[in-house]
C-alpha cells in the first residue's frame, strides 16, 4: 500500500460506509417530512432538514448509495462494451480496424455529457437510463484505449512464439492479452468511476436524471440552490461528499498504478 492509495481509500471509505448503512438504517424515512422546514442542524437532525422538512442526513446517505450504484454499474457497462470493442478492433483486419478506429474518434469528438443527454432523451429518464447513458458514453474512450493496448501486446515476440507453438487465439486473449493490459485498464476504470459519478450529478442537476422518488446528490444540490441563504449546509454536504468520492476514486486509481509499476516514482 502506498500513500496515494491509502488516501484514496480513506476518502472512499466513509462514503461506502454511509451507503452500506443506508441499506439497513437511515435516521428517518426519505419521504418523512415531519422535521419542520429548514430546521438548522441539531441533535434531532444532524444536518438539519430541507425545505420540505426531509432529514438531510437521510437524503445524503441514500444519495451516496445512488452515486456508488451509478458509478459502479456505468463503469461495468463501459468496461463490457469498451473492452469487447477494443479487443475486436485490436484483433480485426486492417479495414475493419480502420473503420472502428475512425468511428471511435468521431464518438470521442462528442463530449460524454452530450452523448449521455442523447441516450437519456431516447429512454424515459430513470436511474437505469442514466447508468446506460453514462456507460455507453464512456465506453468509446475505453475501447480506444483497449485497442491501443491490445495492438501493443500483439506486436510482442512472446505472442508470435505462443502462436508458433500452437496456442489458439482465445487462449492468447485470456492468457496473454488480458493479463498484460489489465493494469492500465484497471487504472482507467477507477478514473471512469469518478467521471461517471460526476456525470450522474450533472444530469440530475440539469433535471435530466432519475425523477422523484429517486434521490441523487445532483438533485439535492439543484434543490439547495433555492435555500442557499437559510441553509448553506444543504449546498455544502452533498457537494463535499461528491468531491470526496471522485477524488477518492482518482487517487485510488493513481495509487493502483504506482503499486503496479514501481518504476513510476514521480507522479505526473
Amino acid at each position: 500500500m502506498n500513500r496515494t492509495l491509502v488516501i484514496g481509500c480513506a476518502l472512499l471509505a466513509p462514503i461506502v460506509a454511509l451507503a452500506a448503512v443506508s441499506l439497513a438504517w437511515t435516521p428517518y424515512g426519505p419521504a418523512d417530512t415531519t422535521g419542520g422546514r429548514l430546521t438548522p442542524p441539531g441533535a434531532a437532525h444532524l444536518l438539519g432538514t430541507d425545505r420540505l422538512g426531509r432529514d438531510l442526513l437521510t437524503l445524503v446517505m441514500i444519495g451516496a448509495r445512488t452515486a456508488l450504484t451509478t458509478g459502479v454499474l456505468a463503469v461495468a457497462i463501459s468496461a463490457l462494451i469498451g473492452v469487447a470493442g477494443g479487443l475486436a478492433a485490436g484483433f480485426a483486419g486492417r479495414l475493419a480496424d480502420d473503420v472502428l478506429a475512425a468511428a471511435l474518434d468521431i464518438l470521442i469528438a462528442f463530449p460524454a455529457l452530450i452523448l449521455a443527454l442523447l441516450v437519456v432523451a431516447a429512454v424515459r429518464p430513470s436511474l437505469f437510463a442514466t447508468v446506460l447513458a453514462i456507460g455507453l458514453a464512456m465506453s468509446a474512450v475505453l475501447a480506444r484505449l483497449t485497442r491501443a493496448l491490445v495492438k501493443g501486446v500483439l506486436a510482442q515476440d512472446y505472442i508470435t512464439a505462443s502462436r508458433a507453438s500452437g496456442t489458439s487465439w482465445p487462449r492468447i486473449v485470456t492468457g496473454h492479452v488480458l493479463p498484460n493490459i489489465w493494469p492500465a485498464l484497471s487504472v482507467n476504470l477507477a478514473l471512469q468511476l469518478g467521471l461517471a459519478v460526476l456525470a450522474e450529478a450533472s444530469l440530475a442537476y440539469l433535471g435530466l436524471g432519475a425523477p422523484q422518488p429517486d434521490i441523487s446528490w445532483g438533485r439535492l444540490l439543484r434543490e439547495a440552490q433555492a435555500t442557499v441563504f437559510t441553509s448553506p449546509i444543504s449546498l455544502i454536504a452533498p457537494g463535499l461528499l461528491l468531491a470526496m468520492l471522485v477524488a477518492g476514486a482518482n487517487l485510488a486509481a493513481q495509487g493502483l498504478r504506482l503499486a503496479a509499476d514501481p518504476a513510476l516514482r514521480v507522479t505526473r
Binding site: 468521431i106 469528438a109 462528442f110 455529457l113 442523447l118 444540490l221 457537494g239
Partner: protein, 317 residues
C-alpha cells in the same frame, strides 16, 4: 505539409459528415416525437398525422437527412418544432453569451495553468498544487458555480448572481459583470485539468539533455527555458488544448444553467425536454463542428511547433 493539410482537411470533412449522419439517425430513432409534444394528449390520429406531415417527419429517414444536409450546406438549420422560429436565429441569439463565456474561460484557464504548471515543475513537488488539482478534478463544475455565487453574489454582493442584460452587449460592463462569475467557475475547474499536463510536459523538458547543455553553456534558467524549453513543452500540451476547448464548452453549458444565462446550454436542455430535433441537431452540429475544428487547428499548431512531426511519419495522421 501540403499533402498532410489536404488529407487532414478531407478527414475533417468526412468526420463532420459521419457525425451529422450519426446524430441525425440517432435522434430520429428516439421514441416520442415533436408531433406528440406539440399536440395535447387527446389529439386523434388524424391530427397527429397532419402535424407530422407539416413537420416533414413522416418522410423516410434518408430523404429527411438529404433535405437537412442540403439546408445545412446553406447554413439553414430548419425551424424549431416548438417555437417555429428558424434554428439558425435561435442559435445566433445565444452565441452572444456562450462564445464569450467559453473563450474567456478557456483563456483564463490557460493563463492560470501555464505559470502554475511550469513553476511547480521547476520547484519540485508541491503538496498544495497536488491537493488543489485533485480537488479541481473532483468537484462538479456546477457546484463551484453555486459556491462562488453564494459567496461573491449573495453574501458579498460584488457581482450579479445571474441573468444577462436583455440588450446583450449594448452595455459591455454590465454584460462582463454578468459573465465574471461563470467565467471564473469554468476557468478554475479547467485549469485544474490543464495544470497537470503543463506540469508533466515541463518535467519532461527539465529532464532533457538540451536544457542541461544550454545551462552548461552559461544560459540562465529563465533564458534557457524561454529559448529551448517552452516550445518543446508546448508541443504535447497543444493537442490537449484542442480537447479541453470542447470540455470548456460542456462546462459552459452546465454553468449557464447555474447562473440563468440565456446561452446555448439552456436552449439545448429545453430542446431535449421537448424533443425539438431541429434545435438539438443545430446546436450539436455546431458544437461538433467546433470540437472537430479545434482538434484540426491543434494538430496544425503542433506540427508547426514540432518539426519532427512533419518529417518522420509519412502514413499515419
Amino acid at each position: 505539409m501540403l499533402a498532410y493539410l489536404a488529407r487532414r482537411t478531407l478527414l475533417l470533412a468526412a468526420s463532420l459528415l459521419v457525425a451529422s449522419a450519426v446524430l441525425f439517425v440517432l435522434l430520429r430513432l428516439l421514441p416520442g416525437d415533436a408531433a406528440t409534444t406539440l399536440l395535447s394528449l387527446d389529439a386523434d390520429a388524424g391530427q397527429v398525422a397532419a402535424v407530422r406531415r407539416e413537420l416533414g417527419v413522416d418522410r423516410p429517414i434518408p430523404g429527411q437527412f438529404a433535405i437537412w444536409l442540403d439546408h445545412l450546406a446553406r447554413l439553414d438549420f430548419g425551424r424549431s418544432f416548438v417555437s417555429r422560429a428558424p434554428v439558425g436565429e435561435e442559435i445566433a441569439a445565444r452565441l452572444d453569451v456562450t462564445i464569450p463565456l467559453t473563450l474567456m474561460a478557456f483563456a483564463l484557464a490557460v493563463v492560470i495553468a501555464i505559470p502554475a504548471g511550469v513553476r511547480t515543475a521547476a520547484r519540485g513537488r508541491s503538496w498544495v498544487l497536488a491537493a488543489l488539482t485533485q480537488l479541481g478534478l473532483a468537484v462538479p463544475v456546477f457546484w463551484v458555480g453555486m459556491l462562488l455565487m453564494n459567496v461573491f453574489a449573495l453574501r458579498l454582493r460584488w457581482l450579479p448572481a445571474g441573468g444577462f442584460p436583455p440588450d446583450g452587449w449594448a452595455d459591455p460592463m454590465a454584460a462582463l459583470a454578468c459573465l465574471a462569475l461563470p467565467v471564473l467557475t469554468v476557468a478554475l475547474v479547467m485549469s485544474a485539468v490543464l495544470v497537470r499536463y503543463v506540469h508533466s510536459a515541463t518535467l519532461d523538458v527539465l529532464d532533457s539533455g538540451y536544457l542541461r547543455t544550454a545551462r552548461a553553456l552559461g544560459a540562465s534558467f529563465p533564458a534557457a527555458m524561454w529559448r529551448h524549453g517552452l516550445r518543446n513543452a508546448a508541443a504535447p500540451v497543444v493537442p490537449i488544448l484542442g480537447i479541453e476547448l470542447a470540455t470548456t464548452f460542456v462546462g459552459a453549458v452546465v454553468v449557464e444553467d447555474v447562473f440563468a444565462l440565456p446561452g446555448l446550454g439552456g436552449l439545448l436542455v429545453r430542446a431535449f425536454e421537448r424533443h425539438d430535433y431541429p434545435v438539438i441537431q443545430g446546436v450539436l452540429a455546431l458544437s461538433t463542428f467546433a470540437v472537430l475544428a479545434a482538434g484540426f487547428l491543434a494538430d496544425l499548431l503542433q506540427r508547426l511547433l514540432d518539426p519532427r512531426l512533419r518529417r518522420s511519419i509519412a502514413g499515419s495522421p
